[in-house]
Point group: C2
Chain length 343, copies 2
Amino acid sequence: MARARDEGEPRFGEFGAIERWLRPLARTLPGALDLTDDAGWLALPPGRILVAAKDAMVEGRHYFPGEPPEQVARKLLRVNLSDLAAMAATPVAYLLALAVPGPDAGEWMRRFAAGLAQDQARYGVALLGGDTVGTDGPAVMSLTLLGHAPAAERLLTRGGARPGDDVWVSGTIGDAALAVEGGYGRIDLALLGLDEAACAAVEARRLLPEPRLALGSALAGIATACADVSDGLPADLGHIAETSGVDIRMRVDLVPLSPAARRVVSAGAGLAPVAWTGGDDYELVFTAPPAARRAVMMQGTRVGVAVTRIGQVTGQAMGRGRVVLADAGGPIVAGGQHGHVHF
Amino acid sequence: MARARDEGEPRFGEFGAIERWLRPLARTLPGALDLTDDAGWLALPPGRILVAAKDAMVEGRHYFPGEPPEQVARKLLRVNLSDLAAMAATPVAYLLALAVPGPDAGEWMRRFAAGLAQDQARYGVALLGGDTVGTDGPAVMSLTLLGHAPAAERLLTRGGARPGDDVWVSGTIGDAALAVEGGYGRIDLALLGLDEAACAAVEARRLLPEPRLALGSALAGIATACADVSDGLPADLGHIAETSGVDIRMRVDLVPLSPAARRVVSAGAGLAPVAWTGGDDYELVFTAPPAARRAVMMQGTRVGVAVTRIGQVTGQAMGRGRVVLADAGGPIVAGGQHGHVHF
């Protein structure tokens, strides 16, 4: 862990927090050197290439202030795991940068580390290093996830979609977006027909997304392009369209919703677009040639994740690749950027 | 680049900034995929291990508010390069997480990227990926630097110092600390005898540290332990003492000061400890057996960096390794933690 100069007057030394809460997270990685150094090493399996992702979260922007640090930590790890899943890579280790305010930083750190410990075991990753600093603003944290993959040609990227490909999505879409709307008080999930258990399930999708690592790996060599659904299905498909230079038609009526989301959508007129344009689901959206339909279904079954066809790559793009939203009756919205625009 | 959900109302989209200012920084790395993806790949030279460091900086804590973004960017990159230098590793690529406030985020980003572009060329690294988000607090940024080294056994760590080893430091110490004191208005470098050019040189040491990459690599197989001087010489030697389980005597009268620092110290009673306990120099402090003295000197000469013996590993530690400060007359302060303590 690095100790850059800090002229603030924090309540306790970085070393105390590192030793107590973070060091146990590094125990299984010899290259983490018990976090005694400013850098760590990692030996990749022979012949594999490194794959790295780095996502940041800001209190009050990416999660509600006051959310349990355990959950914030697990979400930060999982959104990065989702990035590696979408590339068909195998995660191994992560580095962490935490800027945490105030006198409660120690307790916050303890709980944050507890959340990481829980998910580390689940996903087979460990802490390699990082930095902890103080801040006078909201908590800001970033995680760099390191993993490996067999070869660059086997990686799933956003750039390989071809005209005629099917568009697929894993799992169900919309729960996280509805939970966000509920969290802001813009909708009331109970009034819309969800019982307590269903509300909790919807909220859990927002708090603890499930990175589709097994599915991502299973799709290597089958899918032509892949992204995780973080900005919303049309926006993330838009990234594939743009990077691949193709136009995509997405059938909104085919987007798989959870039973809870279906209930909410049927109860609240106008909530369907919230469900299928919202982000934070961290499902995989991918393209594959029609000849691979059976292979895609088999891999989904094998890893226990539903896969649903929701559209088609309609052709090479004239200019910038676009996503056209349609239902059974034809196009409903022509769109470029549908997701959340932010700096 | 990842786009986690953001409920703020920023002035412009993440994609605009990425495309305009950050994408050119990724051009030389095929695995950066033009920043079109949430993750990137990197093929290490065969047989090498990955080395990774991650440092964070916060506006108002690690740099003064209003400092030019170009310099902040270069310092962020360089402190990470310094971490890899201290491990004798070769840097290759970096990931970036930027949380930037306010309506000027775009212009700030442009200038930040310009600083990175300048130093990328100098150090042979390029941008692999990362994340940009908004914040309502001070700017918070972290950089994850990736590099490689021949083997774990060849890495320099803090854990290999042995009784009888000499303690060495590169370059000169104290300029950065004096510049920080000057920046806070606690001392007046001009009144202490520095002309304008000397003041600028001292300030440059704080703003743009020079990572000792060539020296670090040259010391692989010669030095037994190594750290960069970020927290201050006694504190960073303390890390070596503690990790190696040894006691160290550091001769404060042998610490090499720049001509400017020597002048300030001779003019201001009590400023000597500021010079030799202050941080931010990013020189290398390392241990090596007496039999390697000639080899250390030769490598210093070869890479054009002065190396000075400033102490000795006096023995195995009884309990926690400690640093004892001494001058020609004997011990002057017995110390554990001398650097800046921060969260």
